[in-house]
Amino acid sequence: MSQLAKPVIDADVTEVQAQVRPPALGRWGWLVLAAFAVYAAASMRWDWLASYYPKLLWGLWTTLWLLVVTTALGLVLAIGLGIAQAAGPRWLALPARVFCTVIRGTPLLLQLWLLYYGLGALFAANPEIRQSALWPVLRQAWPYAVLALTMSYAAYEGEVMRGAFLGIAKGQLEAAQSFGMTRWHIFRRIWLPQAFRRALPTLVGETILQLKATPLVATITVMDIYSVAAQVRQATYLTYEPLILISVVYVLIALLIQRAFAAFTKTHQTRSPR
């Protein structure tokens, strides 16, 4: 078995980042929010909520599942992209690098439209696909939204994972090799867990960015919460109220993401080397 990784100095750069917590709302933040809520309730129009809340809830559900599904899929893909670049053969490393560079270098909106209008139109023009069992799915908008968001998350996090894989101390892998572990065993039990711990601090921010990218799917007819709010605005001629409502919703989801990651980090990253 050959060496698993190129030699790397074991600088624990990401360990420093691990100490930095994203700011939470804090007591004053909640107070300001509460005061604003009172003001908004008293002097703004909310009667439309009665007729729109089922749609809003449905939109919220769409936003949430899009976020969770694309983050999860994106992360799995990112691990592949990271290891391919860090230790893969050239014919794997190069495409992975190109993928990350291209996806990170172009607007998500553009990717979304290219997939939906471009790929979607190609599929629609192909009789074999139109008659296939997949067509009822492929003719909808959400598969393209999932694909675009997944690729975006994967490209950003793939770059992070690349660094995280390379950042592991070479001795950690050599020790594993010296005990006769297989490559797969070393990857799964030693390399990936350590790389993942290194990448963890970046996941919070990346996931919140992902949340804030989801409204783009409204442009390809997916009914997320933003798209419902836009409908409300058109139907009621109200400018601020729907936007304020969904702003609050996004903030709350973002806080939830932070909480979830903080809890996860607490159980999984209490041990920094040295």
């Binding site: 101390a169 001795g171 867990p193």
Partner: protein, 262 residues
């Protein structure tokens, strides 16, 4: 994956011939032969750059030698040229089987940082040798206790001193019931006051008859514990023999000068 039906021990724990290793144009090892009989404790000494660590790493193929043969416990490792002109083991399965019973202790400890001491010690027995987890835990507790870390089994390596980490690494190595143990400057990364505790553990291993090959700068220790000392210079064995001879009456001028530094 136990060695089961094959002969458990050959009189020779380790037998290597003609080990050469080049890094580019630089030839670091220029043909080294070494035999360790069962229970031998071989200390490899030499100045920095003499190739001692590289040689040790060629024994378990963390480094691929450019030439030579390696026989562990009577079994020769099958080799084939790799793309860089070095010799790589041609059977991954054979290499892993041999490695699994040829434990190495590193200068930098290399305990897996995301695992507790207990998890570090049971990893290879459970997942490489196929031991029952319950038995492996039982054994690991005994081994960690033996190296004086019975009260730290659920600690993570980063919370321990270097000496404690190295003792844990020795426990991890012992857990695979190795045919031979390779020590790569096990005390060089330690603060002076922590060296003693680690050497004491290694001395215990020598006394119970284990086969040890150790690269070391601790001359006093080599003299006390080893039954054979090998002095490497510029990639060659300059002098070799029982410690009393090498340390008492060095034949070569280079060895005399080297020992004079201590």
């Amino acid at each position: 994956m136990s060695s089961g039906h094959v002969a458990l021990t050959s009189p020779e724990a380790l037998h290597v011939t003609g080990i050469r290793k080049s890094f580019g144009a630089l030839e670091v090892l220029k043909g080294i032969d070494l035999t360790a009989m069962q229970g031998d404790v071989i200390a490899i000494i030499g100045g920095s750059g003499s190739g001692k660590s590289t040689f040790l790493r060629c024994l378990n193929f963390l480094e691929h030698p450019s030439a030579g043969t390696v026989r562990i416990n009577g079994e020769e490792i099958a080799l084939a040229r790799d793309g860089h002109g070095n010799l790589a083991p041609s059977s991954g399965a054979q290499l892993r089987r041999i490695r699994s019973r040829l434990a190495m202790v590193f200068q930098g400890f290399n305990l897996w940082t995301h695992m507790t001491l207990l998890e570090n010690v049971i990893e290879a027995p459970v997942r490489v040798l196929g031991l029952e987890r319950k038995d492996a835990v039982w054994q690991a507790e005994a081994l960690l206790d033996r190296v004086g870390l019975g009260h730290k089994i659920h600690e993570y390596p980063s919370f321990l001193s270097g000496g404690q980490q190295q003792r844990a690494a020795i426990a991890r190595a012992l857990a695979v019931d190795p045919h031979a143990m390779l020590f790569d400057e096990p005390t060089s990364a330690l603060d002076p006051e922590l060296v003693g505790e680690v050497l004491k553990v290694i001395r215990g291993l020598a006394e119970e008859g284990r086969t040890l090959v150790l690269v070391t700068h601790e001359m006093g220790f080599a003299r006390d514990v080893a039954n054979q000392v090998v002095f490497l210079h510029n990639g060659r064995i300059e002098e070799q023999g029982p410690p009393a001879e090498l340390f008492g009456r060095p034949k070569s001028e280079r060895l005399g000068r080297f020992l004079g530094n201590f």
